[in-house]
Symmetry: C2
Subunit: 351 residues, 2 copies
């Protein structure tokens, strides 16, 4: 059998509940489709930080380099400032392994109630292609006159041609393979230096993809359109921050953040890619066994596809869709009262 | 009679349609409540730029300094890059006159269909308090190695304690006068320097408002909550960029961007404040007489209130609400087929 070696990082909060549940579903898929998953479980996260002073061992990232993929739950704990925990683990992995594409599909699945009144079932099917390595997320900046009345904080957003072009190329290629339409999120009317540059690069890369029709929207009005007419979007490419906002929004209009998967891809496959749900560690519901494991399971399906197990990936996605469509057990975020384990078991048996 | 001197800047696109229509409604209110509006009409905008090379005269801003208020339509024209037109007129006015609060109320009015399935009529009533002078909108930044493969663009966001505290104080005071609850939009888990600073200042200013309960959300999940449970928000304070995004989103969930007013306030009244709709110049529908004038009319009501004409402001808002509730004429954005002038006439006669 083929063996895929996967880092398993449950992380914090509900990550510790949904990751084991999802891993069992993926195991079931592996058995059915004749491959093996070898999990390297890692206790990285805020608990470890509080216990040992470090979220991960000093050589931790290097230990991931040889694995085939990383399966992450969530990072974040109320006892640790978020910018410490996220910049200690999640963001370094995205950067170190050049996972410059964050792919976040959002589909309205049959049986899932959308908060929107007028969207036809199955009527939303989009993918956010989020730039994942640079842009508004940067360590560059700091404070002047800290602790005084004159205090100020500055934050630098950095967009490089190489960094922008590579994610745009990925998005254009994806749009060409789907419906030939690409939406670019911008704010070139308000943000003077970086967003006009983004628009320029969109125009430049578009010349290599004449089969793709491009449109651009300012982020403010695009957010409004996601509510008013989400059905008209297909592939949406956005900077790190805008992609972050749009992907939560696309998850909301398709029913639940608890269903939204994501893939942090290194498209060249020089480094492992990472698969994690869009949701966070949700300390408010952690420990109660009621978190929806479907986002984690669907992230696992994206991982299987990336590993070349497309049939297994399809089967996992179909199993989730079937449980939802047939009114199977569902967690409170979807209006049900089932627990994490029960939902995962239902998906595994639908497999 | 009291006379209020107002700069009337229709600007571009549908601004030229909705501003005259709204001005007539405000005239009707002035007649009924016994005060006078003296309009100083200014042809500033992109047409003027294309004709004369400048959006406004060199000493234009100074000419506004002595007026009581500025009533603006919209700025933006497809023939002019947006960052040129907006930074040539709108943003300089906001800055020059220290209009550091951008107040953007969003209410679901009876008779207006919300795109959300489950919101009770009248069930959304929030105000976005947007920082309007600094933050992510800055001229600071530029390019390195332009035109080469190594090209990069940087953009500096700048948050000062003075700039943050003053808008926070306004928001806390507003929250204290409303339901005693304030939501702060942040992204301190991803943005390292400025958003943790924002959170610190929220905590510091909160100590002076013990009667206000504060909560904070990251912008991504907050955007999702605006779709999933908008009824739970009251006063929301946000940085320049986050406030921009959230206000379009709050307008979308309350039915139409065509209904959303805004006030750019200099709370100290040392300088004129500016009143403009949240929507832009909408070149796609400009010239057809079908733009919804209600956002402009409601912006006018905010202006009347700022000028001390609270009864007139209430009456204008009630007239708009009445036309909507009674199924009066409505523009296409609300599913009707009336034109701009007809809607404005209906509001004026409801007065
Ligand atoms: C046109 C643009 C610069 C402006 C902004 O972002 O401030 C607009 O979107 C607004 O909300 O007033
Ligand atoms: C936790 C946070 C830093 C992260 C991000 O903004 O990237 C999260 O919101 C996400 O979307 O993966």
């Amino acid at each position: 059998d083929v063996v895929h070696r996967i880092a398993l990082i449950p992380g914090d909060g509900i990550g510790r509940e949904v990751v084991p549940a999802a891993a069992e579903v993926l195991e079931a898929a592996a058995r059915r489709f004749g491959f093996a998953l070898r999990w390297e479980e890692l206790d990285w996260g805020c608990e470890r930080l509080l216990r040992t002073g470090a979220m991960l061992p000093a050589d931790g990232l290097e230990a991931l380099a040889d694995l085939d993929a990383i399966f992450l739950g969530a990072v974040g704990d109320p006892r640790v400032p978020d910018h410490v925990s996220l910049w200690g683990l999640l963001i370094p992995i995205r950067r170190r392994f050049r996972q410059y594409v964050n792919l976040r599909p959002a589909r309205l699945l049959p049986g899932v109630p959308s908060p929107l009144a007028a969207v036809p079932a199955g009527g939303i099917d989009m993918v956010i292609v989020r730039e994942n390595n640079e842009g508004e997320y940067s360590e560059i900046g700091g404070r002047l006159y800290p602790g005084t009345e004159e205090e100020m904080a500055v934050q630098e957003a950095v967009f490089t041609r190489r960094g922008v072009d590579r994610v745009l190329r990925y998005a254009f290629a994806l749009a060409a393979a789907r419906r030939g339409r690409l939406t670019s999120a911008t704010k070139s009317n308000g943000i003077v230096h970086t967003m006009p540059f983004w628009d320029e690069r969109v125009a430049a890369v578009a010349r290599d993809f004449p089969q793709v029709a491009v449109e651009q929207y300012h982020i403010d009005i695009l957010a409004a359109h996601f509510v008013q007419r989400p059905e008209r979007f297909d592939v949406v490419v956005a900077s790190n921050l805008f992609g972050d906002i749009l992907s939560d929004l696309s998850a909301a209009v398709t029913g639940s953040i608890g269903l939204a998967p994501s893939a942090n891809l290194n498209p060249e496959r020089e480094h492992p890619s990472m698969f994690e749900p869009v949701h966070g560690s949700a300390p408010d519901i952690a420990g109660r066994g009621i978190a929806n494991p479907m986002a984690q399971i669907l992230s696992g399906a994206m991982m299987l596809r990336h590993l070349g197990q497309a049939r297994a990936a399809d089967a996992v996605e179909a199993a989730v869709a079937q449980v939802l469509a047939e009114g199977g057990p569902r967690t409170p975020d979807l209006g049900g009262n089932a627990g994490t384990a029960e939902v995962a078991r239902a998906v595994a048996s639908a497999l």
